[in-house]
Amino acid sequence: MLTLECPYCAVMADETELSPGYEAHLKRYGPGSSDEEFEAYMFARKNPKGVHFERWRHAYGCGKWFLAARDTATLEVFGTYTAQSAAPPQALQDKIKAKRPDWKGYK
């Protein structure tokens, strides 16, 4: 039963107030892309046992999507940030690197 802080309204939201949205920072491939690119965009997932960047929506709250960095093996949440982010904030990346020296980055 996760709690994640919504970066928009600063509510520590209960998992039941959220809806999940799986992997974050996917690049959309549309018409003109190759079959491989489109497949990778739609289906290939990092699915790491460890640091994972993912999407959540504060569905029962402000309705906004946000992103979270969470360890899928321990469920530790390193931080959350708005969905309008092309990459995780540097401070968050630094924090994760400090806690998980083996982490290979979000890409």
């Binding site: 039963m1 949205g21 079959d35 990092k46 046992k49 899928t72 321990t74």
Partner: protein, 415 residues
Amino acid sequence: MKRYSAFALAREALSNHMGWERAWAAPQPKAAYDAIIIGAGGHGLATAYYLGKNFGITNVAILEKGWLGGGNTGRNTTIIRSNYLQDSSAAIYEKARSLYETLSQDLNYNAMFSPRGVMMLAQTHHEVRGYQRTAHANALQGVVTEFISPQRVKELCPILNIDGPRYPVLGALWQARGGTGRHDAVAWGYARACSAMGMDIIQNCEVKGITSANGVVTGVETTKGYIGTKKIGIVVAGHSGQVADMAGFRLPVEAVALQALVSEPIKPCMDVVVMANTVHGYMSQSDKGEMVIGGGTDGFNNFTQRGSFHHIEETLRALIETFPIISRLKMLRQWGGIVDMTGDRSPIISKTPVGNCFINCGWGTGGFKAIPGSGWAMAELMAKGEPGPLAAEFDMWRFKEGRFIDESVAAGVAH
């Protein structure tokens, strides 16, 4: 291998059961094998068994990180059915179901296949049409099912509340030869049979790397040292992505927690398996008397074998509405398993980008019922290097082509 029977039991009783052999050996790994199966769950063991039985390949090691049968094989709700809609699904699940029919005799180990019947309740008109469609498909597929009336539903399962008021039962898809099995016994029975064929089941042996030369596998690095092999089958539900990563490819798979629970045991009150998809819950009663209840999956990647509790509450709300008498029973134990979910929620039994490396994964919430069929198809793939008809459609490239095997077939609700 000493055979199991009532006579053997009586004979051993006279010698205080001191004469029983080990069910399976505990060998150290050899330097090399003809084939290595990674993962000694039901699917991995069944693959090994049919490699030996159907293809005479017995120089096989089955490597297991923990204890055999300790993954999803040992933590599911043991439902066996094959009333699937799509042809390729129906084919492999029906193969599995028919192998379950004789599994105890085949393995000389009582896997307790109990064809008590599985019913899937239709509680909306939309569901009625959907299950009727499945019944038509099944008729062509050679899967014996029928669409039954609410009255027949009530006869088969008197504790069911068919009158709603919220979701009255409008009928059900009934597979009389579906049922349940004893999950642990399936793994143990296969393990015993594999061991008897001379295969090495190596527990507490974690694969740390996969080696290859010229794009073809050569062996595995393990916590018990390097082991050479000509072929590898990866059968590690829940951790497929991690092992695939060792081999150097990525899968269309995400790992999520699936939950289940059992009640305290009560005297028999339910002789069939009931699945109620409108309200999201399913239930059967184990031979011990526990009500075995399946919950939903979480919507986030998770490797903890613990799910989020609200799914249990949702399931129980649904089941108390469906089976009002269970309200005063108590939840004895709840748990989770990590399941692989693919892009179309159907499994993958496939060659991979790496030569002689094969994968079997993505069974999602439906793996136990498939074990014998999955092993049969995977063994054929590994032995021949090409899929047979059972596995043909389950390749990992179907997503690129948009060739989904989609069992959910309910895009939206009607106008």
